[in-house]
């Protein structure tokens, strides 16, 4: 049954009917979601709600990447996991939840860390990438891989009661992470490193907003947060949007003559660049 040429089955039309009846969304946007794919890097505080909402919304293929196992102290913010999944690989636990929500989509797990060796080929397999990671070297690696593979990147971050959200590598003029931060902060040199706590609902809000951005990018509906940074002060209940620079022609990752390419990225030393290994930052 495909009388309208949109490629949706009767079951899909029933399942997504409340999105389809929305004038500004409709059957075409839903169809683009169902044909699209998203890679979520990190199945933690940000990745949990992002994965739930993207699976529910009908993204056709969802990749979940994490190298850690669920711990009890994760669950206060990583709500896709349960007590029964303590000790289970996070990507496996998250995939189980996504499949329980929506058996009609394809859910893929990647149980290895993202590394310079595997990043570009992983990112290439998906239409939209979500950075739901928790450390600076991984954030540079993800951004570089998205530049090299030509994929838009939804970047969220949360700590304490603060959150930040933007879209990198989008359209003609959207900057990448390196355009904004060409030099890495020195190791341990973030003001919050001594106080790495986080109110659980804060990554919840940012991760759900990341799902929204991915839906906008895949469906073509709405205005993605490219060249805009959303800054959330959630203790005060304040959201603030700021205007960002365009991409830099001199950027080593996305500029006109990038030094970091699909070919050279695997040799790039992120630990040396950021002065920290991918694991020791929150």
């Amino acid at each position: 049954w495909d009388g309208l040429g949109h490629g949706l089955t009767k079951d899909q039309i029933a399942r997504y009917s409340r999105q389809i009846v929305l004038h500004s969304f409709g059957v075409q946007a839903q169809s683009r979601l169902c044909l699209g794919s998203v890679l979520i890097i990190g199945a933690g505080g940000l990745g949990s709600p992002a994965a739930l909402y993207l699976a529910a919304a009908g993204v056709g293929r969802l990749g979940l990447l994490d190298r850690d196992e669920v711990e009890l102290s994760n669950i206060h913010r990583q709500v896709i996991h349960t007590e029964a999944s303590v000790g289970v690989h996070k990507a496996v636990s998250a995939a189980r939840a996504c499949r329980a929500l929506n058996s009609s989509i394809q859910v893929e797990t990647h149980l290895e860390a993202l590394t310079p060796a595997n990043a570009v080929q992983l990112v290439r397999q998906y239409d939209v990438i979500l950075d739901a990671s928790d450390n600076a070297p991984t954030r540079y690696l993800i951004s570089d891989a998205c530049c090299a593979a030509g994929r838009p990147l939804v970047s969220g971050a949360a700590i304490g009661t603060d959150g930040q959200l933007t879209v990198y590598c989008h359209g003609d003029d959207g900057p990448c992470y390196r355009c904004l931060f060409p030099e890495a902060p020195a190791a341990g040199n973030c003001a919050r490193c001594v106080d790495a706590g986080v109110l659980g609902v804060v990554p919840g809000i940012i991760g759900t907003l990341q799902a929204l951005e991915a839906v906008k990018l895949l469906s073509g509906v709405g205005e993605p947060l490219s060249r805009r940074l959303l800054v959330a002060d959630l203790a005060a209940g304040r959201f603030h949007a700021v205007k960002l620079r365009a991409k830099s022609p001199a950027c080593v990752a996305c500029g006109s003559a990038p030094a970091i390419t699909a070919a050279s990225l695997p040799q790039y030393d992120y630990t040396a660049f950021t002065g920290q290994a991918a694991a020791n930052d929150a």
Partner: protein
């Protein structure tokens, strides 16, 4: 010159946990105030700890975004941008957590 200085993303921890400061920065007659000068004033008058987390040399340390009236300072002239009475200057530390 009266400016509003804002600190976010953890930067406020370096400024006595103040997120917003109404600053009155002395300017010599006929002189312009630049973002560089406003930043140096904040360092000398407001910073309560660990200056290396705020500045590196005469600019901001890597990982900090500077905004003039909610716009990336890169679009306004960076250190040399001129600020006017009532402007808002914001320092945001980029977050890595998730």
């Amino acid at each position: 010159m009266r400016l509003v200085l804002e600190f976010s993303g953890g930067m406020e921890l370096l400024f006595g946990n103040q997120k917003t400061v109404e600053a009155d920065i002395p300017v010599s007659k006929g002189q312009q105030l630049t973002l560089a000068a406003a930043m140096a004033w904040a360092r000398d008058n407001l910073l309560t700890e660990r200056p290396e987390l705020f500045m590196k040399g005469s600019s901001v340390r890597p990982g900090v975004l500077v905004l003039l009236n909610d716009t990336d300072w890169e679009l306004c002239g960076e250190l040399e941008a001129e600020v006017a009475e009532g402007d808002r200057v914001t320092f945001i530390s980029t977050l890595h957590g998730g």
